[in-house]
Amino acid sequence: MTALTLLFDVLIPVIKIAAVILFPMVMVIVLIWMERRVVAFIQGRLGPNRVGFQGLLQPIADATKLFFKEDIIPREADRLLFNLSPVLVMISSLLAFAFVPLGGPFDVMGYTIDPWIARSPVGLLLVLGLSAIGVFGIIFGGWASNSKYPLMGALRSVVQVLSYEIPLGLTVLTVVFFSRSMDLVAIVNNQKDAKVWFGFLLPFSFLIFWISGIAETNRAPFDLPEAESELVAGYHTEYSGMKFAFFYIAEYAHMVLVSSLVVLLFFGGWLPPFPNVRALAFLGVLPGFVWYLIKIMFFLYLYIWIRGTLPRYRFDALIKLVWKWLVPLALLNFVIVAVAWYLL
């Protein structure tokens, strides 16, 4: 029995760590492929379909190519920060996944396994905080490149990310009202007990969170820090090879993270849909993880759909949107939810 305990105590954490690193990585690969294919279909093209089944291995081929590319560091660049920033960006988005549960607890051979590395009573705060560290990587990278386009991209990015943190935080608080916890697992469990997902209870919170989330990840229509028609590639213009890949992967990992958060906070995480419709109870047959994936995929698809449809905001409009609309609306939403929660 002790040997088995030891096995579980050592092996399981290792497997979990591997899974938590693999999960975002695999998702990123699928996401990159999905983005290119979906945008291609929206635009009446085919997209990559040569490498592997339906081109599914295209991102791996691209990554391999990037791996062997020459690593160029501009002569006047600050070498330390230039090399550090892609690492920083990568770490911040991967580390956040340590606190993101991949599903509900399940039993194996009498052992209950929790599919997360760390569960913290303030998990939500940790995830938001860790993912925000990435902005340091962006500004270091933009500044250290010693070039104008990256610098402008980095400045835009900082202003944008910091501004959108505010409505993001305010809407997260409304969820915390209802769940009375900042523990992501508890938030999902609360939605199970309440038999309603917070997204339906707090539709405005969800909308504001989602818009801010798109802006946080620098995605269209808020992709100003890397607006290719203006800033060439924004903060990572001077990067090449694997370092560029790091920025690229981190951005997509960040998208996966925001989608996971939306699902966890507003759409019941790994819970099957329609828990209170008896006729649809069979939906619970699928494991929670599958539901979780389906929901994340939906929001990732939404990202791509929006990108295929909308033009890009201009910077002043972007800032106006957050300070004149999203922040006041988030505040109002916060007050209304607080009052309603108090009265109930």
Partner: protein, 364 residues
Amino acid sequence: MAFKEIELNMGPQHPSTHGVLRLKLRVDNEVVTSVEPVIGYLHRGMEKLWESQTYAQIVPMTDRLDYLAALSNNLGYVLAVEKLMGLEVPKRAQYIRVALVELQRLASHLAWVGFMANDIGAMSVLLYAFEDREAVLDIFEAYCGARLTVHGIRIGGVPFDLDETVAGMIRRVLDETPKKLADIEKLLNDNRIWLHRTRGVGVISAVDAVDLGLTGPALRATGVPWDIRRDLPYSSYEDFEFDVPVRTGGDVYDRYLVRLEEIRQSLRIVRQALDRLPPGPHLAKVPRLLKVPPGEVFHTIEAPKGELGFYIRANGTERPERVKMKSPSFINLQSLERMSKGYLFSDVVGILGSLDIVLGEIDK
């Protein structure tokens, strides 16, 4: 934030300079204080080359000027030569020319809508527009075998008659394009982001526009209703009914709307040309080696990008003494600085896009 004025080099390698153009920008907190276009990266010395070519040999070279509207260049040059020679072109040839050139305008404007939308971040529109443009290029291919550098107009007429297959293809495009235009309009016209990026941006007054010599859609967007096709008709344009769309805002949005409406009018003209195509030869009798009587002529046409003119000085031999091309893009690019001063750096991209420049034509 205190941020000192920086000088920014946009191009010659930059995603949205439409070729090899370099803009020296001075930017103060992302607000543009000066723009200096640096051109000449594509300079091929066309005008010098033309001095050693025969008149007919120059026609295919004009394809390479505005490579998005090769037929318009052909027509502009050929008309100037014909005027110099006093050559009467058969009516049928004139109608076919009109149909071809209007299709070219359609293709050029579609490419423009796509590129400009892409500059503003709506990449899907680029591909939608190019899909439609592809259909037009297919027509050119069926007509004369080339798609981009077409060489589809000859001195004295057109090289081929318009047969039933080509006419059928054209009719199909005439029927399909309005639907696809509606798609593009649905995506952009009332889109708040699009309106914000284009309305009130890059405004230029009618007085300034005339002073800077702005022509074509850019001029008509400022409220000057000047269209050479209507005001100084050439190649039987007086036979066709069409409207000249005019807007008064002088901003990027109006330039966009004017061009979209021009696409519709082009379709109208092409339909009339097809329906009323007169019988007869499609090429006048022209000697193989043209000898043009001495003299000079300046003739302009309404190309998709504006007033395209050719000045030819002939000395009585088979080669011109001098051919000077008045390129609309050259003139239009000149006004970029006056249009973009005081706007944001992001707007320069949109304003440049709205001018519809082609570097092949600017650099000659």
